[in-house]
């Protein structure tokens, strides 16, 4: 048995689709999604690129696979953490679930982008959304209402949002940045004034001061509160 676990022989276990996919996830975790090429993936597995095609139809199947893997991870984490959803407090259960999913996605920064590009819903995704739907139902939503609710949440249901632009990380005290801002004041007056206000209130702050987690929760709560209100009046 010790021999069986010998790393030298272990390195020779034949490829399987699962092994290919785990290696793909590892590769993306390590070097971003651009590092995930068929040739890199093969190299990481100590094999020639063409060997992959024996276990996987094409790269799209790899992407489907790693998306599903992450959704599976979410599913697992959420299943562990969550208490019984038989209580009527759907909102805190939902909140906890979504924030847990978010933690998983933060560990795999590439995953949100990949999940977005998959058009077909995988089984893992279906299972996740089924549970979300169940949570809404347990909270007293009709299927119709719950359906709208899922759309309203959109990718927030999985814990991520479209961050449209990376805020500049320029220091608010930075004179050059401040000067540039003042120069733009005629074209984007409100943004400039907003940033000036921030740097005035808190001179040590950064010009791009957005806290992703805070903003995510703000938006999430806004939606969940809105849904709760609709539920009560329906």
């Amino acid at each position: 048995m010790a021999a069986h676990a010998d790393p030298r022989t272990e390195a020779r276990v034949p490829l399987t689709k699962t092994r290919v996919l785990s290696a793909a996830v590892e590769l993306a975790d390590g070097g971003g999604i651009d590092a995930l090429t068929m040739r890199n993936l093969a190299h990481a597995l100590g094999v020639e690129a063409m060997s992959l095609y024996y276990h996987v139809a094409n790269k799209d199947e790899v992407l489907d696979g790693i998306a599903e893997a992450i959704l599976g991870e979410i599913h697992e984490v959420v299943g562990t953490i969550e208490g019984p959803p038989d209580g009527v407090d759907w909102k805190t259960a939902m909140r906890q679930r979504i924030l847990s999913a978010r933690q998983v996605l933060l560990r795999h920064p590439w995953a949100a982008g990949v999940i977005e590009t998959r058009t077909a819903m995988s089984l893992e995704a279906a299972k996740y959304f089924d549970e979300v739907l169940g949570l809404f139902r347990a909270g007293g939503f009709s299927y119709d209402m719950a359906h709208h609710a899922m759309h309203a949440l959109g990718s927030r249901a999985l814990g991520f949002t479209q961050e449209l632009f990376e805020p500049d990380t320029a220091d608010a005290g930075d004179e050059q940045a401040t000067a540039m801002l003042e120069q733009m004041a005629d074209k984007i007056p409100h943004i400039v004034e907003m940033l000036m206000e921030v740097s005035h209130d808190d001179p040590d702050s950064t010009l791009g001061w957005c806290d992703d987690q805070v903003e995510f929760e703000f938006g999430l709560d806004l939606i969940l509160d809105g849904l709760e209100r609709l539920r009560q009046t329906s």
Copy 2:
């Protein structure tokens, strides 16, 4: 002057960055973003691929450029349609603005995806968001609150949402689809029941019955109503 407009001579006008970018937009409109390769783009302009690099640093600059072009189009459309935002009814003004932006993006289906991938905020984007910010301010929001509001809207501010999965277009009457659904009932019970309910209420409906526009407006209104409530109590 007629000679100046002659199409034969017109076809010989030298390249400019603007011409390159318009051709790029046209190419993406016609064949999707995958059709936009440097070689295709050059061919559409009747030129060799390498000539492009005289007017444009690299492909990223092309992508930046066409994203900005669409944002400019949005900016233009929104500027025309909108009445003076000096009224206190920020909500309907915002709603109208965002739905107008959405119309532009629906005409350029590839644009949302490209805009997402641009990390730096272009001037056109800044101008658009500045006006959104101005609308919030006119409605009585503090900069801090307006900032949260923009994050809460996310990509909805520009009129699009992450559609995570394309719903199946299977007919609800389709026996095969229904049978498959029943088979899945143990794994995704709520989704199955929801779909069954839909097909029962409306036998002619499609299994993937989501109306994107309706769902977009539902989510948008949920957020805008929530923001209005916060404004009143702050």
